[in-house]
């Protein structure tokens, strides 16, 4: 469905370079956050950064930007499902030890 438009955005390498630099910077941010001792929030921030990185890869490197709306919606459904699952798991992990260790 995107044969016609691949050459058009395949020529300019500048955006890819910029995105790559962004990805490296975000990786550095993940490492820094891990060293800051933010307790439970460290996981939340790391997941946030990882989501942004995955988003950049999807949009630019995997050409989601140029795909029809239906594919974006389908991916959105998958992302929504994943987010809800992580959120519900955190409803256990965040509160589990709090309740038992410090009654």
């Amino acid at each position: 469905m995107s044969e016609a438009i691949v050459p058009r955005h395949g020529l300019n390498s500048r955006p890819y370079l910029l995105v790559w630099i962004g990805l490296v910077a975000l990786t550095a941010a993940t490492v820094t956050v891990a060293r800051l001792n933010l307790t439970a929030f460290a996981a939340l921030i790391s997941i946030g950064i990882a989501t942004v990185k995955a988003g950049l890869v999807l949009i630019f490197f995997m050409h989601l930007k140029y795909e029809p709306l239906i594919l974006k919606v389908m991916l959105g459904i998958a992302l929504l499902a994943l987010s809800l699952i992580i959120l519900l798991t955190f409803s256990d992990v965040w509160y589990r030890w709090g309740a038992h260790v410090h009654p």
Binding site: I70, I85, D92, V93, W94, R96
Partner: protein
Amino acid sequence: MPAESMTTSERSYLQEGGRFKGVFSWIFTTDHKRIGILYLASIFTFFSIGVIIGLLMRLNLIEPGRFISERTYNSLFTVHGVIQIFLFIIPGIPASFGNFFLPIHLGARDVAFPRLNIFSWWLYISGGALVILSIFLPGGAPDTGWTFYAPYSIRTTSNVSLAASGIFIVGFSSILTGLNFVTTIHRLRAPGMTWFRMPLFIWSLYATAWTQILATPVLAITLLLLILERSFGIGFFEPLKGGDPIMFEHLFWMYSHPAVYIMILPAMGVVSEIFPVFSRKNIFGYKAVAFSSLGIAFFGYLVWGHHMFTSGMSDISRVIFSLITFLVAVPSGVKVFNWIATMYKGSVRVDSPLLFCLAFIFLFSIAGLTGLIIGTLSLNLYLHGTYFIVGHFHYTMFGGAGFGFFAGLHYWFPKMFGRMFNERAAKIAWLIMFIGFNILYFSMFLLGLQGMPRRYFQYLPQFRMNHILSTVGSWILAAGLLIMFGNLIRALFRGEKAPANPWGGSTLEWTLPSPPGRENFRETPVVRGGPYTFE
């Protein structure tokens, strides 16, 4: 369905095998109908093994220790669960009737990726073979229960890794089927086949396919982590190494609860097809039934925690999961009321497919209502470890998905094989199965309320009466199954020739000859109305 279609005397898909001959024309076929039949045959083979193991377990419980040892009993209930869940009821309806009828219902020639389709069957058979192999190889059959709960599944020396690898592979087959169905429904609908003209079976397969795509990878990850932990001692779930065994349960049920909807949604689709035809009435509330499938798939995705109320989850989490569990009952209730409303003032014809559907509603309603009982946090704490749960999930999976499967089997048998079965024998089989089923599993509710713990090899004398009752029920049910399958197998060879439309159905498959030709439609049909046109 008003459609420009065809009935010709061309060779049927049973005669036209394509490039290969004999058995190869089946196992290397890319025809969705042949793949559907391959799945049907394989699924019922595994089902028979599962049933025999189930009967052996019930036999032990009539006189614990006399026929079977403790260790064997643990292996039996594990393998029974693994086979019936992963090899029978999850692929069940979508892989057999789904493969056969989805393209026909849409007016297409095949699914979007026919080669991927036969590859999915190969994956299924390979995974299934590994599971069966795990029973016989040294080390012994897995003895963890079908849930593989850590840390025991990490510590046991039985063939857990092999069985888990088998399920891992079967999972990929399920994902590929889901992918194929979503793509086919989006891309290959015939001209005029708008979303709201699709048969409700397709809507249910659509919701199921999404669940297969989104949930099955989580199971793959979970089993991979388990295998890695067993092979290399990495501490993902073992508490002695800092792992979290409750995290295993989260990951496992993130798939395995949605899997319940992979089982039941297609069965709901089947009965949604049968009720209008046998009531000679349009389905009551088409859009409500269609959207309730999506609603069940969505909420079903978010309730896995109700399997873990007694596992040591946080209190907040338990309350949230209990609440969402109650929400699933709403779309399920919508469906049940709509099926009953479809029959209301209809010209009801009580043939075997409808009888199985009525049994489905009855058994599924018991399953759903007992589900609300154990979805209630406070009651769950008492009932969770008991036979009440065993009764509940057998009502859901066997009474719901299983009876829905048998309904579809009787409804579509003439179309798939071009032969009619003996209607009287089918009704007798249905009655015996219905009686046997309720004796077998309802006594489990009573046992559970009395406090009989599940998975136990041995029990106290006060439970004996209900255990005997339950075992007798298992024999009655097995007799019914034998009559049903005997009747259908006999019909394969000696049944009368089936007409194109024996039940007076109005969806596209009934415009084709029985059995259909290799290419389904000689000319692509043009669809001009909804799927149910009885008024």
